[in-house]
Symmetry: C3
Subunit: 295 residues, 3 copies
C-alpha cells in the first residue's frame, strides 16, 4: 500500500468516525432494536394489554446500553432520557412498529433488503457506542483497564445483558439462561471490541482510533449482514475460540457438526438446547412466523 493510499484511508476513517449518528443511524438502530422486541414471544400481547410495559421494554431495547453504562459508572440511570428528541423518535418508532394500521410499517422494515441495510446501520452505531464507552470510562478512570473493558462491553451489548430483567417486565422468567452464560454474536463481538478499543486507548495498540472504528465497523457490518441474510447464527469466532478455550480452560473441542457455537462450546451442556439460541441469533424465519402469528 503506498503512502497516498494510507493517507486517503486515514482521511476516510477520520471522516467516517466523525459522522453524526443522529438522526438517520439512530433511527435505524431504534427500528432494528424494536423489531427484535416484536419478535420476542408474547411481546405483541403485552403491547395490547399494557402499553406502558411495552413502551418501557422498547426504551430498554433502544437505550439499555446507556442505562447500564450509567449504572456501572454510578451515574443517573435516567440521564439519557433528557434527550427528549431521541426518546420521542424511539417512541414514534415503537408506535409504528407495534400499532401501525395494517401492520404496514412492520412489513416494510422487516422486508429483507430493507432490513439488511438497517441491520448494517445498527452495527455502525454499536461500534461507536463501544468506542464512546471505553473513552468515557478512560476519562473517569485513567488506568482502570477493567473498567474500560466492562463499560465498552456494556455499551455494545445493551439490553442483551439485562434480558432476564427485561423479560421479567413482560411477565416472562427464564432463569436457566442468560446472555453471559450463552453469548450471542453481538455480545461476544462487543467484548472483543471493548478489548481492542481499551488497548487502543491505553496506547498498546499502535493504530489511530478513527481507523480502528472504521475497521471494526467494517467487520461488524459484514458479519451481521451476512448472518442476517443467511438466517445463520454461527459465529465467525467459533473455531479460534474453541481452540483457545480448549487450551486455556480445558473446554471440550466443538465438533464440526455441532450447531450451537457457544462461547467455549459445551460438550455436555447442562442447559437445554433451546435457550442457547439467544435474542439476536434466533433464526429470523422462525421469529417472523411467530410474530406474524401473534398479530
Amino acid at each position: 500500500m503506498d503512502v497516498l493510499g494510507v493517507l486517503n484511508l486515514g482521511e476516510i476513517a477520520q471522516y467516517f468516525s466523525k459522522m453524526a449518528m443522529f438522526p438517520v443511524f439512530d433511527v435505524a438502530y431504534y427500528i432494528v432494536s424494536i423489531l427484535y422486541l416484536k419478535y420476542e414471544p408474547g411481546s405483541v400481547e403485552v403491547s395490547r394489554r399494557s402499553p406502558v410495559a411495552s413502551w418501557i421494554c422498547a426504551m430498554l431495547y433502544c437505550f439499555g446500553s446507556y442505562i447500564l453504562a450509567d449504572i456501572m459508572l454510578g451515574e443517573c440511570p435516567l440521564d439519557y432520557f433528557h434527550n427528549n428528541s431521541h426518546i420521542l423518535l424511539a417512541t414514534a418508532v415503537w408506535y409504528l412498529v407495534f400499532y401501525c394500521p395494517l401492520n404496514l410499517f412492520y412489513k416494510c422494515v422487516a422486508f429483507l433488503p430493507v432490513k439488511l441495510v438497517l441491520v448494517g446501520m445498527k452495527e455502525v452505531v454499536r461500534t461507536r457506542k463501544i468506542a464512546a464507552g471505553v473513552h468515557h470510562a478512560h476519562h473517569a478512570y485513567h488506568h482502570g483497564w477493567f473498567i474500560m473493558v466492562i463499560t465498552g462491553y456494556v455499551k455494545g451489548s445493551g439490553v442483551a445483558l439485562m434480558s432476564n430483567f427485561e423479560q421479567l417486565l413482560r411477565g416472562v422468567w427464564r432463569p436457566e439462561s442468560n446472555e453471559i452464560l450463552n453469548m450471542s454474536f453481538p455480545t461476544k463481538a462487543s467484548l472483543y471490541g471493548a478489548l481492542l478499543f481499551t488497548l487502543q486507548e491505553t496506547h498498546w495498540l499502535p493504530i489511530s482510533k478513527s481507523l480502528l472504528i472504521c475497521l471494526f465497523t467494517l467487520f461488524m457490518v459484514t458479519s451481521k449482514v451476512t448472518m442476517t441474510a443467511r438466517h445463520s447464527h454461527s459465529s465467525p469466532f467459533a473455531l479460534v475460540e474453541s481452540w483457545v478455550c480448549h487450551v486455556l480452560f480445558g473446554s471440550a473441542l466443538a465438533s464440526e457438526d455441532s450447531h450451537d457455537h457457544h462461547h467455549c462450546a459445551p460438550a455436555a451442556s447442562a442447559a437445554p438446547a433451546s435457550p442457547a439460541k439467544t435474542r439476536d441469533e434466533l433464526n429470523e424465519g422462525t421469529r417472523k412466523r411467530k410474530a406474524k402469528k401473534a398479530e
Copy 2:
C-alpha cells in the same frame, strides 16, 4: 365563582400545600403501608422466622419511593435513612403492627373507620411525594420531561414498582405478574399525577402548584377512601382508558361485566386471573381473613 372565592381557594390551597407532613401524616402513611405488608400472604411467618427480613420489607414499604427515586436519579439509595427519627418511627409502627401483645394495635388500625382516615392521610402524603419528585427531577434536568414524569411516578408508586424484589426478600417469587403489567389504581393515578405535575412544572398547565396539589389530593383521597370503604378495586379511569387504549393501541374494549379493569383491559389475558389483583387492590375482606388466620 367570584373573585373572592378564588382568592380564598388559593389561600387554602397555599396553606394546605405548605402543611408539614411529619409526624402525623407520615405515621399514617407508615401504618397503612405496614398494614398492607401484613396482609401479604406469608409475611407474618417471615416476621416470626426472620425479623431482619421483615424489618427490611417494612422499610421498603415505607420508604421504597425514596429509595427508587434515588436509584433513578443516581443518588445514594440509603440517603433517606439519615432521617433517624423517620426510621425509628417506622420501626416502632412495624413493631406494633407485627408484635403488639394480643394484636391490639393491628386490630385498632384495621378497624374500618380508623383505617379510612389513615388511608385518606396516606393519599395526602402520596400526592406530596409526586409533586416533590417532579420538582426534584426538574431541578436536576430542566428540560427532562421524561425524567420528571418517571421520577414523579416512582415517588408516587413506591414499593409497588419493586414488588417482585420485595417478595423475593420474603422468599416469594411471582414472575408472571408485576405492577407495570397489571397496574393497580394508586400506581396508575401516580402516573397520571406525575404527568399533570410535569405539565404544571413546565408551565403547560396554567394552574398554580398549590392548587394542583390540593385538587389532586382531593381526587386521590375521595377515590381511595371510597374504594377502601366499598372493598372495591374498580378504577375510576376504567371507561376512559378502555376507549383511549382501544383507539390508540388497538386493545379490545372492556366488556361491562369484566371484573378486572387492567390498564387497557385484556380480552384474552395470558396471565391467570389471580395475580391480576395486585397489592393495593386486593379485596380487603379476603386479606384480613388471611391475615387473621396467619396470626
Copy 3:
C-alpha cells in the same frame, strides 16, 4: 490486668489494626472465597462452558462487598476495579483454583490445615472491611446510624447478600431462600459487628477502634476456624438469639435437638430444610465430595 498489660494490649491492637492487608491477607481472602464458589453445585461446569460467567462470579465472590457498598452509597459499582493489581491477583487465583493442571492448587488449598489458616486470614480481612464500611458511611453521613450499620453489614457479608443474583448468573434460581431470610454465621456476625463498630464510631461504646478490631477479629477467627475444623454450622449466637427473639418477636424457642439454628429458629418453617443450609454453612465434607465428583 495491670496498667502495663493494658498498655501493651493497646499497642498490639494499634499495630494489628494498622497492618497492611495487601497482598498476603487479600490473597487468602480470594482463595477461600473462590474455593466456596467451586463448592457451589454446577460452578465447575459453568467454568468449562462459559469462562466469562465464571470469572464474573469469582469477581463477585472476591469484591461483592465493595460493589454492594458502592451501590448502597450511590457510588460507582465498578470503582474497586481500578485497583488493577487486586483484580489481576484475584483472576490468577480464580484461574489456579478452576483450571490448574491435575487440580493441584485446589487440592493444596482445600487441605484442611492449610484451609484453616486461610479461613482465619479471611476473617481478619472481613473485620477490617466492616470497620472500613462503618467509617466510610460515618464520613458521608455523620449522624446516619442506620446507614453506618447497613454499610458495615454489607461490607462484611459481601456476595452472600446478593447470592440470588450471583446464582442467576450461573443459570441457577432458588427464590425460596436468601441470605437475609436464613442468615449464615458470617452474615449474622457481620450484622452484630456492624452494630458494634457503629456504636464505637458514635462514641456510645467507650473503647478504642483498634482494640475493637482486635477483639472482634479474635472472636471471628476463633469461631470460624472452629466451625470449619468441626464441619459444624451451629452458630455461637443460637442460644442468646433464641431467647431474645422469643421475648421480642414471639418466635418459638429453638429445641435443643434442632439442627438448623436460623436467626430466630422457626417452629414451622415454610421453606424446605435443604436451602436453609447456606453457602458458608454447608457441611464442608459434602461440598468437597460434590466438587470432586464435578471434576
